[in-house]
């Protein structure tokens, strides 16, 4: 048995024979050609085929791994369509009387070199994109078929490195795992592997051609691969693999299925996210929307106060990517335990009851307006919900709405398009529960923030370990507050959700449904397990 180590992309196990994947070799005709027109026609045909292929790969990657990972193929398409690049290759064919293959390689390599020499690491990485599309054009010119390199049996693929276009062209049903010598955990290949739930090892320096055809186990949990494993090991890991597959399959079966009880009552299961980097998790876990997008990340990730443009870009990206699903973005919730230098907030004796969230926003109007303008502009790109935190009185809500309207009028005057959006508030203070009827008149939805609500209702600091004996997340007062909020919301015809941690508590799911909660927003990993519970409940009993 040989054990080789690498960096694991995914906790999972792949068992099967090794297949060494070798990229085709390119023997390029360096000589002169007779028929220049024929070479020009061959070049144009191959480029057109490569452009068309990027469209197909885009659709395939979008299906396998989501829009975000597929974007690379859209960029490839635009590069292939570039006139300068095409002209450079054609010029080589015409003036130097060379083959279409030679012209493609020379022209594309030259552009790749230009990017490789730039200072900016992002731009340097684009040189790999050019080489990738160069390979596509050459494959069409030379009649190579990348997918045939994979063999016909299910196997663990071992390669030096895999370009995104190679990864996406692979037949998924024949893939048990991937091992590469190169690659980084943020490469497109790694992203695709993750979203396809494929155990993969990168930076495995010990890969060897002699492995070809041998039995192997790829152990993602321990970041290694066993070549010709012992019988004991094979048995143990086969068992583990079968359990994983069963668990995964059970949850995957729930993708695309409605979150509805046996007797037909449906509830929306949304995800809580902290930034655009969580978009992949929203799609992978099939969340029906985003019930809480914490906008703090735009403030916390920045040394200075973020501009309207920077905020707009982040909000737009999330709203646009998830459209037509609803994305509820909570306005700035800085203060209490989340402080930032540039905000110049005083140190407080009692920060949980202090100058925070909407209280800062209503006091520092220009600061608040920046965020509201960015949100309103993002509303044109999808289905947006705007949510104010820490509301205790109706006048706060009325004032916040007036500022929102002021921003809207300004933006319309400046020529911006503004879409439809829903407006809501967090219910996380006891006061807001008690005046919920008044507040409901002003908004489209309520979302219960159970973490703060529990802390304020019971006067219990959740961070204080000494209070554990007194703390009860299922305290009857909390449940009663939830019930009162739902009833007040429904009296005024608005929907009521839960976005606190309690929403994911499986022991309360049935209770929430009976109480009439319309939406549960939980961390992305809890979406499918929660859907499973909802589908097993029968409220008619």
């Amino acid at each position: 048995m040989i054990v080789a180590t690498g960096k694991s992309i995914l906790n999972g196990i792949g068992i099967g024979k090794i297949k060494i994947y070798k990229a085709p070799t390119y023997d390029i005709n360096m000589g002169l050609v007779e028929d220049v027109d024929k070479e020009l026609a061959r070049f144009e045909e191959a480029v057109q085929k490569a452009i068309d292929q990027q469209g197909v790969l885009y659709e395939k990657a979008k299906r396998d791994a989501g829009e975000e990972s597929a974007g690379i193929f859209e960029a490839h398409q635009l590069m292939l369509e570039d006139e300068d690049l095409q002209d450079a290759a054609k010029e080589i064919i015409t003036s130097q009387k060379r083959s279409a293959e030679y012209a493609t390689k020379t022209a594309f390599d030259e552009y790749a070199q230009m990017f490789a020499e730039m200072d900016d690491p992002y731009m340097r990485a684009r040189s790999a994109d050019l080489l990738d599309v160069e390979t596509d054009v050459l494959d069409f010119l030379m009649g190579n078929d990348a997918s045939s390199m994979q063999g016909t049996e299910p196997s663990i693929l071992v390669a030096e490195d895999l370009a995104p276009s190679e990864t996406v062209k692979l037949d998924k049903s024949l893939l048990l795992g991937m091992i590469t010598r190169e690659g980084s955990s943020n490469s497109h290949t790694a992203i695709l592997a993750r979203s396809m739930n494929l155990p993969s090892l990168i930076q495995c320096k010990e890969i060897d051609d002699s492995w070809d055809g041998k039995m192997a186990i790829l152990d993602g949990y321990n970041s290694c691969v066993y070549i010709e494993p012992t019988a004991d090991l094979l048995e143990t890991l086969t068992k583990k693999h079968d359990e994983d597959v069963k668990k995964w399959a059970l949850l995957q079966e729930l993708k695309g299925k409605p979150s509805a009880t046996i007797d037909g009552r449906s509830v929306r299961v949304y995800a809580n996210i902290g930034g655009p980097s969580d978009l992949g998790a929203v799609n992978e876990n099939d969340a029906e929307g985003v019930g809480l997008f914490r906008s703090e990340f735009v403030y916390l990730n920045s040394k200075e106060e973020p501009t309207e443009e920077q905020q707009f870009m982040a909000y737009k990206r999330v709203v646009e990517t998830l459209a037509p699903r609803l994305v509820v973005i909570r306005t700035c919730d800085i203060g209490a335990d989340k402080t930032i230098d540039y905000m110049n907030l005083d140190k407080e004796e009692n920060p949980a009851l202090g100058f925070r969230a909407i209280r800062i926003c209503l006091t520092r109007k220009p600061f608040f307006k920046k965020q509201l303008r960015a949100l309103l502009r993002a509303s044109a790109y999808g289905n947006l919900g705007i949510m104010f935190p820490m509301i205790i009185s109706k006048w706060e809500l009325v004032e916040a709405k007036a500022i929102l309207e002021e921003c809207k009028a300004e933006l319309i005057k400046e020529g911006y398009k503004i879409g439809k959006y829903e407006l809501g508030i967090m219910i996380e203070t006891p006061a807001s529960v008690l005046v919920a009827d008044d507040l409901a008149e002003e908004v489209d939805f309520f979302s219960l923030g159970t973490n703060d609500l529990t802390q304020y209702l019971c006067a219990i600091d959740r961070q204080n370990a000494k209070l554990e004996r007194f703390s009860d997340t299922h305290h009857p007062a909390v449940l009663k507050a939830i019930q009162m909020t739902v009833e007040a919301g429904h009296r005024h015809g608005i929907w009521v959700g839960i976005c606190g941690e309690l929403g994911a508590d499986p022991t309360l799911t049935e209770w929430f449904l009976r109480a009439g909660v319309d939406e549960l927003s939980v961390n992305p990993k809890s979406v499918l397990p929660l859907r499973k519970i909802i589908r097993s409940v029968d409220l008619s009993k």
Partner: protein, 85 residues
């Protein structure tokens, strides 16, 4: 001729994907569109040339639009730049 001055706020600068969409937008018009960064310039219809200028965050660019539809074209380009970069 119309001229637009614009400072890039996107942390990645004028990068691949939105640059591609910008090129598509530019192709909708017949006017000649030239992008200047310092003393370097290129045709906005050409993606690789545009990416090759390596426009970064906080860089100022000047866009010159010259042609029959320059009014509409300049307005559209300015709006696009503001929303995407």
């Amino acid at each position: 001729m119309k001229e637009i001055k614009f400072t890039v706020t996107d942390p990645l600068g004028i990068h691949a994907r939105p640059a591609g969409v910008l090129v598509k937008e530019a192709k909708k018009y017949t006017s000649k569109i030239t992008v200047w960064k310092g003393d370097k310039s290129c045709d906005m219809r050409k993606l690789l040339a545009l990416m090759g200028m390596a426009v970064k965050q906080n860089d100022e660019i000047i866009v010159q639009v010259d042609g029959d539809d320059e009014e509409a074209c300049a307005a559209a380009i300015e709006k696009f730049l503001k929303e995407n970069f």
